[in-house]
């Protein structure tokens, strides 16, 4: 992962600028520095997706990455989750506050529950794959499932559950491995509005309960604003950070998925990000196919 950063001289000025910009947080849980990645098309033309991309995510911070489809969101997701190795630059997962190694867990739109495992067994999968499951783990899993209102279905198979319930099981599976960073890729887009709001609250509550950082990859601007501390707008090819919006909402009462959407700043932020996306569309319509 620690490949030396060797961008072209033309880009390095930009990455130097970015390094001193507010994209970088102190004590980061995730650091993406000088990320270079691209792919080769069938006719041998090399297309750069990222060229000297920099950003970081602080402890307990929720950051959304929005962009048009084709902007490289999914590739970025795969790079950060470790499914792909970056061709250049580094992606570092920060240590825990107690000095232990950091850990990334992710969740997709597909819940990826295994039909042959019960809800409890599905929730425990992550632990099972790296060490022996203890009685303590099972108790913790039951407790977390109970918090999400799944007590009655702990021993049921996923087929019997609604989409929202299944996604909550997937969230439990993601969180049970004690990640320092949770990576979400359009996790709620297949759900109905009400369930989606409830799950957004669940994710936002993570920060309070365990200080987990969250990176949310989405095309849904509303969801991005409602949930995050910061929205990063990704655009162009190679993709760069077109805008980085700190989301500060004066909500009535504690911030929830609903109260955030009712905050007076919501529309303004929406307009700014939507505008950014659209100008990006016009600008790079030819480049990104």
């Amino acid at each position: 992962m620690n490949t030396p950063n060797t961008p072209d001289s033309t880009i390095s000025s930009e990455s130097a600028k970015a390094a001193s910009s507010p994209h970088v947080r102190p004590d980061p849980r995730l650091t993406v520095a000088g990320l270079n990645h691209g792919f080769e098309t069938d006719d041998g033309v090399r297309t750069a997706l990222f060229s000297g991309l920099n950003f970081s995510v602080g402890a307990g911070e929720i950051v959304s990455i929005v962009g048009r489809s084709g902007a490289g969101k999914s590739t970025l997701f795969n790079l950060v989750s470790g499914l792909l190795s970056p061709q250049g630059g580094r992606i570092e997962v920060g240590r825990r506050s107690d000095g232990g190694a950091g850990r990334i867990a992710y969740m997709l739109q597909k819940d990826l529950l295994m039909p042959w495992r019960t809800v409890l067994q599905n929730a425990l999968l992550g632990i099972e794959l790296y060490r022996k499951v203890t009685r303590h783990d099972i108790a913790r899993a039951r407790e977390m499932l109970a918090r999400y209102g799944l007590t009655s279905v702990v021993d049921a198979y996923p087929q019997a559950l609604s989409g929202g319930m299944r996604q909550r099981v997937a969230l439990t599976r993601t969180l049970l491995v004690d990640p320092t960073l949770v990576l979400l890729d359009e996790p709620f887009s297949a759900l109905d509005y009400e369930t989606r709001l409830a799950l957004e609250d669940d994710v936002m509550a993570l920060r309070q309960s365990s200080g987990t950082s969250v990176v949310l990859v989405t095309h849904d601007i509303e969801e991005a604003i409602a949930m995050s501390d910061r929205v990063i707008l990704l655009g162009g090819r190679p993709a760069r950070i077109e805008d980085s919006v700190d989301v500060k909402l004066s909500t009535q009462g504690p911030r929830t998925a609903v109260s955030a959407r009712e905050a007076p700043e919501f529309r303004t932020l929406h307009k700014r990000i939507w505008g950014g996306l659209r100008s990006n569309t016009i600008h790079h319509a030819g480049a990104s196919t």
Binding site: L83, K110, M114, P115, L129, Y130, S152, V153, A156
Partner: protein, 272 residues
Amino acid sequence: MSDAVMSAQAAGRRMRVRRLKGLGATGGVVTLIMVALVVFWQVAAQRAWINGQLFGSPLGIYKAAAIGLAQGTLITDTLTTLYETVLGLVIGSGLGIGLGLLLWFVPRVAGVTEGFAVILNSIPKIALGPLIVIWFGSDMTSKVWLAGISTFAVAMISSCAAAREVDQDLLNLFRSFKAKPGMIFRKLIVPGALPWIFSTLRVNIGFALIGAVVGEYIASQAGLGHAVFVAGSLFDLNTVWLGIIILTLMATLLSWIVQLAENRIISWKTKR
């Protein structure tokens, strides 16, 4: 929340009940038609509308069965063929499934092996009959071999494919949890392939039965294939029919056993 589960369970139950009722009605109609055909066949044979010598008759089949039972040959023949079929099915499919799944570990070898399996599968296995009988003799061993060979390639090809076609997103999820290949195999590849394995087994019942019976046609001292072959050459059509009926029942019984095992092992498919 629990309401939703309960109503889902209720819906599942309702659906099963409806399916069972539907099955009952269809089964009734099928039985009725079968009985009507048998009665018509018997009447036609008795009134000499058809040549009883060339077509046999239900009563004649019944008499052939009674004689077979009295002499004990019917039981011996049935057990012989059943033994050959089951042993061939278990050994051939077992080896095929095991090898096919294990090849998941070595994708490069899998490609080559699968190529050979496809060639093996294209050979009409029955054509190998004379070879097998020469190599392994005219007793049951050669039939077990023929039944086994008939099922091996199918089992291997389909379990190889089942392992390969595992959901890539699930595979990535396992990898993101840093699962070792052995772990992925045990906890994802094998359970994921189970439904395919069972459908392969069901198809293979037929192939194993063909292998055993054709082996008996070629050279044998006992077995339903032997009985049918001998009776055919003597124009004893009733005994031929009897053999066919028992073979059909045997295939049905084996399918039913596989289905039962499937329901037990893949209980998550039915349990909702």
